[in-house]
C-alpha cells in the first residue's frame, strides 16, 4: 500500500510544498519548497520528520521537483547540502536550467541584502545541481529496478511537470501546480488515462470557476492600447518569470498585429537570462509558438527592448514591464513614483498583492501614499487590476481527475476550507475516496496490488483454446497448479507439478446414487434415461454402451433395480474430480426425475 506522509508544508496550506510518498517499500520525496512568509526555521520543511536516525540518502530513493517556483524547490540546496542528501534529484530540463538562477537570486536577497548567516552558499547551489538528473516529457526513467517515474506536461510555468511514480503495478501521480486552460505561451496540462492508485493534486483554486481568459486578455490589451494612443505611459509590475513572459507575448503579438510603434521595455537582469531559456525550450510552449518558431522565435521580441533607467523620463507613450510585481521596492517602485502624478498614465497590476505593499494600497483605492521620508505621493494615474493566474480552477481539477481516472485522490496545496468543498464534490461525482491531510499527517491508502504469476506457454495455449474467444477485458478462469518456489510464483499444469514435486497422482472419484420410480425393466429405464439426457445435453457426447451403461463424456451412469422395491431403480452416477461441474449437474438433473414418457 502506498502511504503518503506530508512533510511539513503543502498540506492544507500554500507554500513549502513537500510530500513524502512510500509506495511498495520505496520512499520518494516530491518537491522541496520553502515558505515565503517566514524568515526563520519555519521557512524550510522539517526534514527530521522524514527519518529520525540514519542518513536521508539511505532512506529516500529519489527526490522529484515539479517546477522552478521557490515554493516547490527553494529548500533544495539546504536539503541536499546542509542536511545531507546524495541520492538522485529528478526535474525536467527547463526546470534544471532556470532553478539555479532563482535560487541564486533568492540567496542574494536573503544573504546579501538582509545579511543573514547560516544560509546556503552559491557553491552549495552548484553542488546541489550536480545531483540533478534531467528528464524529458513522457520519458520513463528507471530510478532503480522497481521504481520508475514519468513526467507529463503541466502548463503552469515553463518546464512544469506532473510526475507518475510507479512501483510494480502500484502508482501515484503527483501534479505539482498545473493549468488546464492554455495561455499565450504555454499549453494545457495533459495526462493519459493511467488510472493511478492515488492522485495527489494541488487545489489552490478549489472553490473558483474562472471566466474565459479571452475577456481578460482583451480588456488588458484595450487598456494598454487606449493609454498608448492617448500618449500615456503604462507601467506593468511583474515578477521576472512566468506571467511576465505571457504578457510580453501578448503585447508583442498585439503590437505586431496592430502595427503599433510605441516602445515596450522590459527591465533587465534576471529577465534576460530567463527569456533566453524560454527561447531554448520551445518544445515546452504552446501550439502557436511551436508552429511559428521556424519563421521566428516568438521570444525573440521585435518590439520589446531592454529598459534603461533613463528611459523613464523620455517623452511620449511607452509600456514598461518592471520588477518586482507588488511595487514594494526596486525598479517598478521607482518608475511608479515618476509616473504617478500624470492622469494620462496607467499602472496595471497583473497579480495578487500582499497586504502592506504599495501595490495593495493603490489597488484598494488609496490615492495618497506616504513614501519614505514622510513624502506624500499623490496617485493620479489610473490603476487597473488584471488577474492572470496559471492554476487549474475547480473545473480544471475535476477535468484532470476525469482524464487520469485515479482510484483515490489526495488534495494538497490549498486552504482547508476550500479543500473541504472540493473533496465533497470529488467523492460525489467520481465515487472515489478523497483525502486532505494536514501538515505532518500520514495518510495510508489501501491498494489491491496484483501479483504477477508466470504461466507456461503450453498451459496457456491449452487453456485459452477451451471455451469462447479470449476477451482481454474480462478475467478468464484457468485451471492449473500454483507453485510457490524460491520466492516466485508459477502456474503449471498438474502433470508438470506432480513431476516437479515428485508426487504420485491420485484419482478422486465421486459416486452418487439416484433413485427413480420406474416400474419398467432395467434396460428400458436405461433407454429412457439415455433419451432424456440425449435430448437435454445436445452439446455433449452421450453414448449408450452395449453393457447397459450410459456415458456422458467421461461420466458413467449405470442403472440397477432396487433390491427391495422393483419399482424403484437406482442410478449410479460416477465421475472424476475433474468433471465435478458436469457431474453435479447431471445428478441434479436426474434427481428431478424423468419426464413422463409417452409410450
Amino acid at each position: 500500500f502506498p502511504a503518503v506522509r506530508l512533510c511539513s508544508g503543502a498540506g492544507q496550506d500554500v507554500g513549502r510544498s513537500c510530500v513524502l510518498v512510500s509506495i511498495a517499500g520505496k520512499n520518494v520525496m516530491l518537491d522541496c519548497g520553502m515558505h515565503m512568509g517566514y524568515n526563520d526555521d519555519r521557512r524550510f520543511p522539517d526534514f527530521s520528520y522524514i527519518t529520525q536516525n540514519g542518513r536521508l540518502t539511505d532512506f529516500l530513493d529519489c527526490v522529484i521537483i515539479s517546477h522552478f517556483h521557490l515554493d516547490h524547490c527553494g529548500a533544495l540546496p539546504y536539503f541536499s547540502e546542509m542536511v545531507g542528501y546524495d541520492g538522485p534529484i529528478y526535474m525536467t530540463h527547463p526546470t534544471k536550467a532556470i532553478c539555479p538562477i532563482l535560487l541564486e537570486d533568492y540567496r542574494k536577497i536573503t544573504v546579501d541584502k538582509k545579511g543573514e548567516t547560516n544560509f546556503f552558499t552559491s557553491q552549495m547551489i552548484k553542488d546541489c545541481m550536480k545531483k540533478v538528473v534531467a528528464v524529458h516529457l513522457h520519458q520513463t526513467v528507471q530510478v532503480d529496478e522497481e521504481l520508475e517515474i514519468k513526467a507529463y506536461y503541466a502548463g503552469h510555468v515553463l518546464g512544469a511537470a506532473m510526475f507518475q511514480i510507479k512501483v510494480g503495478c502500484e502508482s501515484v501521480v503527483y501534479t505539482g501546480d498545473y493549468n488546464m486552460t492554455p495561455d499565450r505561451h504555454l499549453g494545457a496540462a495533459w495526462i493519459e488515462k493511467c488510472r493511478p492508485d492515488l492522485l495527489i493534486t494541488e487545489s489552490t483554486y478549489a472553490t473558483t470557476i474562472r471566466d474565459s481568459k479571452r475577456c481578460r486578455e482583451r480588456d488588458f490589451l484595450k487598456k494598454v492600447h487606449e493609454t498608448v494612443e492617448r500618449g500615456g505611459k503604462v507601467l506593468i509590475p511583474v515578477f521576472a518569470l512566468g506571467r511576465a513572459q505571457e504578457l510580453c507575448i501578448l503585447l508583442e503579438t498585439f503590437w505586431e498585429r496592430m502595427n503599433l510603434k510605441a516602445p515596450i521595455y522590459f527591465s533587465t537582469g534576471l529577465t534576460e537570462k530567463a527569456n533566453h531559456y524560454y527561447k531554448l525550450f520551445i518544445t515546452w510552449t504552446n501550439q502557436k509558438i511551436r508552429k511559428t518558431f521556424v519563421q521566428r522565435n516568438m521570444f525573440e521580441f521585435k518590439h520589446i527592448k531592454a529598459f534603461d533607467r533613463a528611459f523613464a523620463d523620455n517623452p511620449g507613450p511607452m509600456v514598461v514591464f518592471a520588477t518586482p510585481g507588488m511595487l514594494h521596492a526596486g525598479q517598478s517602485l521607482q518608475i511608479f513614483r515618476k509616473w504617478a502624478g500624470n492622469e494620462k498614465n496607467m499602472v496595471i497590476m497583473p497579480g495578487y498583492c500582499v497586504q502592506g505593499t504599495v501595490g495593495h494600497k493603490i489597488l484598494s483605492g488609496q490615492r495618497k501614499l506616504e513614501m519614505e521620508g514622510r513624502q506624500i505621493l499623490e496617485v493620479k494615474m489610473q490603476v487597473e487590476y488584471m488577474s492572470f493566474s496559471a492554476h487549474a480552477d475547480a473545473k480544471g481539477i475535476m477535468q484532470l481527475i476525469r482524464q487520469a481516472e485515479p482510484r483515490n485522490v489526495l488534495l494538497v496545496h490549498g486552504e482547508a476550507k476550500k479543500m473541504e468543498f472540493l473533496k465533497q464534490k470529488i467523492e460525489q461525482e467520481f465515487h472515489v475516496s478523497c483525502f486532505m491531510p494536514a501538515n505532518g499527517e500520514t495518510t495510508t491508502i489501501l491498494t489491491n496490488p496484483c501479483i504477477p504469476v508466470d504461466i507456461s506457454l503450453g498451459l496457456l495455449k491449452r487453456e485459452t483454446a477451451i471455451g469462447p474467444l479470449p476477451d482481454a477485458k474480462k478475467p478468464k478462469l484457468m485451471h492449473g497448479t500454483l507453485l510457490m518456489k524460491d520466492n516466485s510464483f508459477r502456474l503449471v499444469s498438474p502433470e508438470q507439478a506432480l513431476k516437479e514435486l515428485g508426487l504420485a497422482e491420485h484419482q478422486l472419484r465421486f459416486t452418487c446414487r439416484v433413485h427413480i420410480q420406474d416400474p419398467r425393466k432395467e434396460h428400458e429405464t436405461v433407454l429412457r434415461v439415455y433419451n432424456h439426457l440425449k435430448g437435454i445435453l445436445k452439446d455433449y457426447s452421450v453414448q449408450h454402451l452395449p453393457d447397459g451403461s450410459i456415458t456422458v463424456e467421461s461420466i458413467l451412469i449405470q442403472a440397477t433395480a432396487h433390491s427391495e422395491d422393483q419399482g424403484t431403480k437406482v442410478l449410479l452416477v460416477s465421475w472424476t474430480y475433474q468433471d465435478e461441474e458436469l457431474g453435479s449437474y447431471l445428478t441434479s438433473l436426474l434427481k428431478k426425475g424423468l419426464p413422463q414418457s409417452t409410450p
Binding site: P182, E192, I209, R214, L363, A394, Q399, K425, P470, A472
Partner: protein
C-alpha cells in the same frame, strides 16, 4: 533442366509475347523467396492490359500455392487485388480461386491481404448480390481469427459489402442471412481497439450505403465513448451523431434517475462532453459534429454557452454579463475598478455541479482550447447552430466577438466570416461593436477586408455606433490607404442600412454650420469621399436629408455619381432634374427602370424582321451602344447588358459579313473584302467562347443559342474559304468536319431543337440528307442561302447573369522604379487581384506575363493562393516568378489574368478514371475534340523590370 526451360520460353514466345509468360518465366527462375519478391516488385511497376489480366492472375495463383514464403504470398495477394482493379476487367472469374486460397492459409498477414483482395473484387461487382453474400459469408467465418488484422479486414468487408436491403438477405438464407448489424455490433467489445474501431467504421459504412441502423446500438455506442483509445472514441462520436440524426425524437432514459429525454438531446449532451476529451482529435471531431445537430432543443443549446463562475464559493458574473449590465444601465465605458468583479451572493455548495454530464459550457471550453483546430471547429459549429436559431445567435455573439482576438489568424478570420453569416439574426451592442472595430487596425489585409465585409451586413443599434464605426474606418483608411475601395463599399452598405441613424450625424459629418459657410473640403480626399458615400447612401431612403447639404455637397454629389457610380446611388434632389425622377411616376414600383429599359430595347431588336437591312444594322448598333452604357451605369445589370450586347454584336457582324458584295462576284477577285468576312467569322467565334465561359449563371437555354451562333460562324468560315480557295481537295475535309459538328450539335441539344423554329440549324437539319450526299460546292451553296434566310434567334435572359471580372490591385503599374535583378535568375513579383463571379478559379484562372520581345509566359497559380472572402468573389494573392536574359535598359512587361476554357468541359465531365496502381498509365492523352483557349479578362498592368547582366 536448362534445356527444358529454354524450350518453354521459346514455345511461349512463338505464341504471343504476353506479360503472363514473362512473369511465369521470371518466377520459375527465381531461386529464393527474395528473388521472387524482387521479380514481383518489378512486375508491379508495369501496367497490364485488360486482356492479359486473367492469365497473369492464373499464373500468380499457381505460384501462390507452390510458395512457402509468407512474404511472397503476401505480395502475390496484394497483386491480385491490384490486378482486379484494372479498368474493364471483370473479376468474377477469379473470385472462386481467391476464396479457395483462404482455406489453407496459415499466415495472418497473408489472410488479411487476401481479404483485402476479396474486398476489391466485391466492390468491382456491385450488381451481383450472390457474390457479395458469399464474400460476406467468408468474412463472417474468419471473424473468429485471433489476429486483429484479419478481424479488421473482415469487418471492413462486411461493412462495404454487407446486404443493405432486407430482401436480399432473405434470398440467400443460411448464416449470411444473419443480421450484419448484429455481427458487427458483437465486435464493439472486441479486445483489440483496432478491431473496435473497424467495427464502428463498418457500421458507419453500412449507414452510408443506406442501411437504417437500429436504435439498440445507441447504448452500446455510448459505452464506447469512454473507451481508452482515441480512434475508438472518435469513431464512436460519429456513430452517436449518425444515430441522433436517425432517431432524433425517440426517448431515452437518463441513467440514475427515472427521467427521460429525447435522443438527440441526450446525444448532444454526450458529444458536448467529448469536447473536453483528452485527445484533440476527438475534440475536433466532436466540435465539428455539434454544428450539424440542429434538432436539439434550445434549452440544451443555450447551456453550451453557460459556465457558472464562482470565486470562493460565491457566484460571480462573467465579463460578458457585466458588459451587458453596464450597457443596459446606460453607463458604458466605466474604467475597471478594483473589485468591480467582486463575487456577489453565496452559493449553495450542494447545488454546484462541477462536471455536468450535459451540454454545459461545451463551447466555452471548445473556444478556449489549446489546439487551434478545435477552436476553428467550434467556431464553425457555432456558426451553423446560430444560423438555425436566432436566439442562440444572439447569445453566442459575445463569444464570437472574443474570438476576434485569437492568437491564430485563421481562427480570427473564421470567426469574422462566421459573424457575417449570422449577421441577419443579430444586432451588435455598442460594446461589442467597439471590440469588433478594434480589429480594423489588424495588419493582415485578409482580416481587415473580412471585417469590412462583416460591417456591410451588420445591424447597429445606435447613432453613436455608426459614428464609432465611421471614425474607426477612417482611422483604418489613413493607416492602410490601399483599403480605400473596400472601405467605401463598406460605408455604402452601412449608410443604406441605417438611414435614420445617419441623419442626426449629417451636420457633424459634413461640418456644416447654420450661420457660417465652412470651407469646401478637398474632393480628392479619400476620407471625405468615404463620408459622402455614407451620407448619400443613407439619403437614398431618407428624403429629408438633402436639406441639410450645403451647395458644394450637391456639386460633389454630381461628380461622384458620375465617377463612382457603383458607390453613389441616384438621389432625388430638390431643384435638380434627374433622369430617374422624370420617369419614375410612370413605372411600376417593383420594376427597376433600367431593367425595363433593357427589356424594351431587346424587344425592339427582336421585332426588326420587317426593317430593311440598313435599318437593322443601325438599330443593332444603337442598341449595342445603349446596352454598353447601361452596363457601365448599373452594376447589377452589367452582366446581363454585356451579355446581350455581345450577342447582338455577333449578330451584327454576321449580317455585315453576309451583306458584303463579294458573294455575287467570282471568288479570286475579291481577296481584300474576304479578309473582312473571315475576320468577322473569327471574331464571332471568339465572342461566343467569351459568352459561354466568362459569365456565371448561363443556363443551357443560352448555351444552345451560343453554340448556334458559333455554328453559324463556322458556316461563314466555310463559305469564305470555299470562295477563296482553289481546288476541291481541302474542301472535302472541311465540309465533313462541319457536318460532323452539325451532327454533334443535334445530339447535344436535341431537347432544345423544338424552340429553334426557322433558325439556321433548323433549316440545315431539314436539308441534312441532301447535304450528306452532295459535293462540297453544293454544300457551300446551300449553306449560303440558309444562312441568309435564317431568322435571328431570340436570346432568353437568365435570372442572374454575372460577367467574370478581374482587377489587379497589385502591381499597380504606377511605379517608375524598375525591378532590378540579375539576368538568368528569377525575381518574384507579388500579384494581388480580385476576381468576381469566376467559377472554379483554381482550375481556370492563369496569370500571363508578356515580355517586350513578344515572349509570353503562362503561370498557373497554386490552389492555395485563392481565397474566398464572400460568395462569388475570390481573391488571388500569388507570386509570379520572372526571368529573362539581360537587357540594356529597363522595359515594361505586361501582366494580366486569363480565363482558361476547354470547349468540352461542360460535356466531358466523365473523365476516364485514372488507374492508380501504375504510374505509366497516368499520362492520359489529351482529350480529342476539346478546343482549349484563354480569354483575357483583366486590364493588363505594366511592370517596369530590368534584368542586369550577371557580374563576373
Amino acid at each position: 533442366q536448362q534445356q527444358h526451360e529454354d524450350l518453354s520460353t521459346k514455345k511461349l514466345r512463338l505464341t504471343k509475347p504476353s506479360k503472363s509468360a514473362a512473369l511465369h518465366v521470371d518466377l520459375c527462375k527465381a531461386t529464393s523467396p527474395a528473388d521472387a519478391l524482387q521479380y514481383l516488385l518489378q512486375f508491379a511497376r508495369k501496367p497490364v492490359e485488360v486482356e492479359s489480366v486473367e492469365g497473369v492472375v492464373r499464373i500468380l495463383l499457381e505460384h501462390y500455392y507452390k510458395e512457402n514464403d509468407a512474404s511472397v504470398r503476401l505480395k502475390i495477394a496484394s497483386l491480385l487485388g491490384l490486378l482486379s482493379k484494372t479498368a474493364g476487367f471483370s473479376p468474377d472469374c477469379i473470385m472462386d480461386d481467391a476464396i479457395n486460397t483462404l482455406q489453407n492459409e496459415k499466415s495472418h498477414q497473408v489472410l488479411a491481404q487476401l481479404l483485402d483482395t476479396l474486398l476489391v473484387i466485391g466492390t468491382k461487382l456491385p450488381e451481383n448480390p450472390s457474390v457479395r453474400m458469399r464474400l460476406v459469408e467468408v468474412a463472417c467465418k474468419h471473424l473468429t481469427d485471433s489476429s486483429h488484422g484479419v478481424r479488421n479486414k473482415c469487418l471492413q468487408l462486411i461493412g462495404c459489402l454487407g446486404p443493405v436491403e432486407k430482401g436480399v438477405a432473405k434470398e440467400a438464407e443460411s448464416q449470411a442471412a444473419k443480421d450484419v448489424q448484429k455481427i458487427i455490433g458483437d465486435h464493439f467489445n472486441d479486445q483489440d481497439p483496432r478491431v473496435r474501431t473497424a467495427a464502428i467504421k463498418a457500421m458507419l459504412q453500412l449507414h452510408e450505403r443506406g442501411l437504417k441502423l437500429q436504435q439498440t446500438i445507441y447504448s452500446q455506442a455510448c459505452k464506447l465513448l469512454a473507451d481508452d483509445y482515441e480512434q475508438v472514441r472518435s469513431a464512436a462520436v460519429q456513430l452517436i451523431w449518425v444515430l441522433s440524426q436517425l432517431y432524433p425524437e425517440s426517448i431515452v432514459p437518463i441513467p440514475s434517475s427515472n427521467e427521460e429525454i429525447r435522443l438527440v438531446d441526450d446525444a448532444f449532451g454526450k458529444i458536448c462532453h467529448m469536447v473536453s476529451d483528452g485527445s484533440w482529435v476527438v475534440r475536433v471531431q466532436a466540435a465539428k459534429l455539434l454544428g450539424s445537430m440542429q434538432q436539439v432543443s434550445s434549452h440544451f443549446l443555450e447551456q453550451t454557452l453557460d459556465k457558472k463562475l464562482m470565486s470562493d464559493l460565491r457566484r460571480k458574473r462573467t465579463a460578458h454579463e457585466r458588459a451587458k449590465e453596464l450597457y443596459s444601465s446606460g453607463e458604458f465605458s466605466s474604467g475597471r475598478k478594483w473589485g468591480d468583479d467582486a463575487p456577489k451572493e453565496e452559493i449553495d455548495t450542494g447545488a454546484v455541479n462541477l462536471i455536468e454530464s450535459g451540454a454545459c459550457g461545451a463551447f466555452v471550453h471548445g473556444l478556449e482550447d489549446e489546439m487551434y483546430e478545435v477552436r476553428i471547429a467550434a467556431v464553425e459549429a457555432l456558426c451553423m447552430l446560430a444560423q438555425s436559431s436566432p436566439s442562440f445567435a444572439e447569445k453566442c455573439l459575445d463569444f464570437l466577438v472574443d474570438m476576434f482576438n485569437d492568437e491564430i489568424e485563421e481562427v480570427r478570420l473564421q470567426s469574422i466570416h462566421t459573424m457575417r453569416k449570422i449577421s441577419n439574426n443579430i444586432t451588435l451592442r455598442e460594446d461589442q461593436l467597439d471590440t469588433v472595430l478594434a480589429v480594423l487596425e489588424d495588419s493582415s489585409r485578409d482580416i481587415r477586408e473580412a471585417l469590412h465585409e462583416l460591417l456591410c451586413c451588420t445591424n447597429v443599434s445606435t447613432k453613436e455606433g455608426i459614428h464609432l464605426a465611421l471614425v474607426e474606418l477612417l482611422k483604418n483608411l489613413t493607416k492602410y490607404p490601399t483599403d480605400r475601395e473596400s472601405i467605401w463599399k463598406c460605408l455604402k452598405f452601412l449608410g443604406s442600412r441605417h438611414p435614420t441613424l445617419v441623419l442626426p450625424l449629417v451636420p457633424e459629418l459634413l461640418s456644416t454650420h447654420p450661420f457660417f459657410d465652412t470651407p469646401e473640403p478637398d474632393m480628392d480626399d479619400p476620407a471625405y469621399i468615404a463620408v459622402l458615400v455614407l451620407i448619400f447612401n443613407a439619403a437614398k431612403s431618407c428624403p429629408t436629408m438633402p436639406a441639410l447639404f450645403s451647395d458644394h455637397t450637391f456639386r460633389h454629389y454630381a461628380y461622384l455619381r458620375d465617377s463612382l457610380s457603383h458607390l453613389v446611388p441616384p438621389l432625388r434632389l430638390p431643384g435638380r432634374k434627374l433622369v430617374s425622377s422624370a420617369v419614375s411616376p410612370s413605372i411600376t414600383p417593383h420594376e427597376d427602370p433600367s431593367q425595363q429599359f433593357l427589356h424594351q430595347s431587346l424587344e425592339r431588336v427582336y421585332n426588326f424582321q420587317h426593317l430593311d437591312p440598313r435599318g437593322i444594322q443601325e438599330l443593332l448598333e444603337f442598341t449595342i451602344r445603349d446596352l454598353q452604357r447601361l452596363g457601365e451605369l448599373q452594376s447589377e445589370l452589367a452582366g446581363m447588358a454585356d451579355f446581350t450586347a455581345t450577342y447582338l454584336q455577333c449578330q451584327l457582324l454576321l449580317i455585315k459579313a453576309l451583306q458584303e458584295k463579294l458573294w455575287n462576284v467570282a471568288a479570286p477577285l475579291y481577296l481584300k473584302q474576304n479578309a473582312l468576312a473571315s475576320a468577322a467569322a473569327k471574331q464571332i467565334l471568339e465572342e461566343t467562347y467569351k459568352m459561354e465561359f466568362m459569365y456565371s449563371g448561363v443556363e443551357s437555354r443560352q448555351v444552345v443559342i451560343i453554340h448556334h451562333m458559333r455554328l453559324q460562324a463556322k458556316a461563314l468560315q466555310l463559305i469564305v474559304t470555299a470562295r477563296t480557295t482553289r481546288g476541291v481537295e481541302p474542301l472535302f475535309g472541311m465540309c465533313e468536319k462541319f457536318l460532323q459538328e452539325v451532327d454533334s450539335f443535334q445530339r447535344c441539344f436535341i431537347s432544345e431543337l423544338p424552340h429553334m423554329q426557322g433558325s439556321f440549324v433548323d433549316k440545315l437539319l431539314d436539308l441534312m440528307p441532301r447535304l450528306v450526299t452532295s459535293k462540297p460546292s453544293e454544300v457551300v451553296k446551300i449553306l449560303q442561302t440558309t444562312l441568309r434566310q435564317s431568322t435571328f434567334l431570340h436570346l432568353p435572359l437568365p435570372e442572374q447573369l454575372h460577367r467574370a471580372t478581374a482587377n489587379i490591385i497589385e502591381p499597380t503599374g504606377e511605379s517608375d522604379n524598375p525591378l532590378r535583378f540579375t539576368s538568368g535568375l528569377v525575381v518574384a513579383l507579388d500579384v494581388d487581384a480580385t476576381l468576381e463571379h469566376v467559377q472554379d478559379p483554381q482550375g481556370t484562372v492563369k496569370v500571363q506575363v508578356l515580355y517586350p520581345d513578344g515572349q509570353a509566359q503562362l503561370i498557373h497559380p497554386k490552389p492555395a493562393d485563392f481565397r474566398n472572402p464572400g460568395p462569388g468573389r475570390h481573391r488571388l494573392i500569388t507570386q509570379v516568378y520572372l526571368s529573362h536574359t539581360a537587357w540594356t535598359e529597363p522595359c515594361q512587361i505586361e501582366v494580366r489574368l486569363l480565363l482558361a476554357y476547354n470547349s468540352n468541359r461542360s460535356k466531358a465531365s466523365t473523365r476516364i478514371p485514372k488507374s492508380s496502381w501504375s504510374e505509366s498509365l497516368e499520362a492520359l492523352p489529351p482529350s480529342e475534340n476539346g478546343i482549349e483557349g484563354t480569354i483575357p479578362f483583366s486590364k493588363p498592368v505594366k511592370v517596369y523590370i530590368m534584368p542586369k547582366p550577371a557580374r563576373r
